[in-house]
Amino acid sequence: MKVNFEHRQAAHCETGVTTSLLQNIGVTQITEPLAFGIGAGLFFAHIPLIKINNGPAIAFRTLPGLIFKRTCNALGIPVTRKKFRSKEEAANFLQRQIDAGNPVGCQVGVYYLPYFPKEYRFHFNAHNLIVFGKEGDNYLVSDPIMEHATSLSSYELERVRFAKGALAPKGQIYYPTGPAHVTDEQIKKAIIKGIQKNVRNMLNIPGWFAGVKGIAYTGKNIKKWRDKLGLKTAGLYLAQLVRMQEEIGTGGGGFRYIYAAFLQQAYAYIPNEQLLEISKEFTKAGDMWRNAAVQAAGIYKGRLGSQEDFDVMGNYLIDIAVIERNAFTALKNIKW
């Protein structure tokens, strides 16, 4: 049984799932950048003391699940979200959705996801994909990261839906209830709300390690990593930073390019020239993040390694913090 559904590739899994599911119920205006911006997806945090895979816990985006939730809320679309204790109940619920013709989003772990290359399989449990049918024992799967739709056996899907560890998905299923008709006026309001939320998250969030000040904090820290951690571990920390920034699904530059694309698309609904100017600032920030990544690579490849090299690296982030602070302040000051 196959639900009427078209696979779309995206840069990022959650925004990809959000876009596809919303398109499928009739929100024809939605694009990945719009979902990302309306969902206030852009973020930075470097959580102190916590380690992930023996490296720093750094995020360039908001908490998993929030983009889908905020975007649907802002567009006034009701959402169903369910977690399960029993694997059987989780499979039955999924089957009922397929029978009813609903493609659904599933939160999964990537460690046992068979179509991912081995090198990408870490215990990361906040990946998202869409199930849109079942043929024999195989579920039809639309994973936004992939160019083409794929499939998983019922055992494989159960295993990733019930992956364990931090952010365990617990079989989580979610979907927007349609059909929905969203007006351009609603999109416009949602864009403004999303920008305002993102401004608050980046400029006013409490804690020295989050928002634009968090970027500068990490930049200052990086300068101390060489002495504090030793060259080898400091290199691994930088490698982790680059992976969080560029690896599967940020669209490049730690989501900064997607946000710049969002502001351009927002201009179609809100013809304010400032949006286009501020978009350029986020492009610049994305370019600087990528330049910083090149510098970091010099260190973890062993080509660079002096304290001066770490200072250059740290200064990149300190400069980025200034650009992003100015860009968000400009967004804050727009008279809507």
Binding site: P117, G165, Y257, A260, S279, A297, Y300
Partner: protein, 135 residues
């Protein structure tokens, strides 16, 4: 990033899928393009795996020297810490810590071994011998 600068380097992911990048075209408008990979991040991933391989090798040495049970090897091999392993097996963390001792591990019941084997996705024989049949 400009569209003409989208990196097309070799990467592990590139064998399975290309990935979407957001880039600007010649007029400065955002479009999407596909990339096979970027050397900078391939190197980051390689650095991470080199570190993991070192941990696996060190764990294997410890097991061979009877300083730890095969659990340590499989934890490194499957990138699991005690929290994750505890979640997968349903065992308490203090139990797992005990089972990391070779003498305690040797006396484990078949049902406990089965829990570990399932968590690591290997057979009980592999669990004991550390021989794994997979790529």
């Amino acid at each position: 990033m400009e569209q003409k600068n989208v990196p097309q380097d070799e990467s592990a992911l590139g064998k399975v899928t290309r990935e979407v990048c957001y880039v600007t075209d010649e007029n400065g408008n955002y479009v999407t393009d596909l990339s096979t990979g970027w050397e900078v991040k391939k190197d980051a991933l390689d650095a991470a795996w080199k570190d993991i391989d070192g941990r696996i090798a060190a764990a294997m040495q410890k097991v061979d020297a009877s300083e730890a049970s095969p659990l340590l090897f499989f934890m490194e091999y499957r990138l699991m810490d005690i929290n994750i392993l505890s979640d997968y097996t349903g065992l308490w963390k203090w139990q797992i810590k005990r089972h990391l001792k070779p003498t305690v591990f040797k006396k484990l019941s078949p049902s406990t071994l089965q829990k570990y084997a399932e968590a690591f996705n290997v057979s009980i024989d592999s669990l004991k011998s550390m021989h794994i049949n997979e790529g």
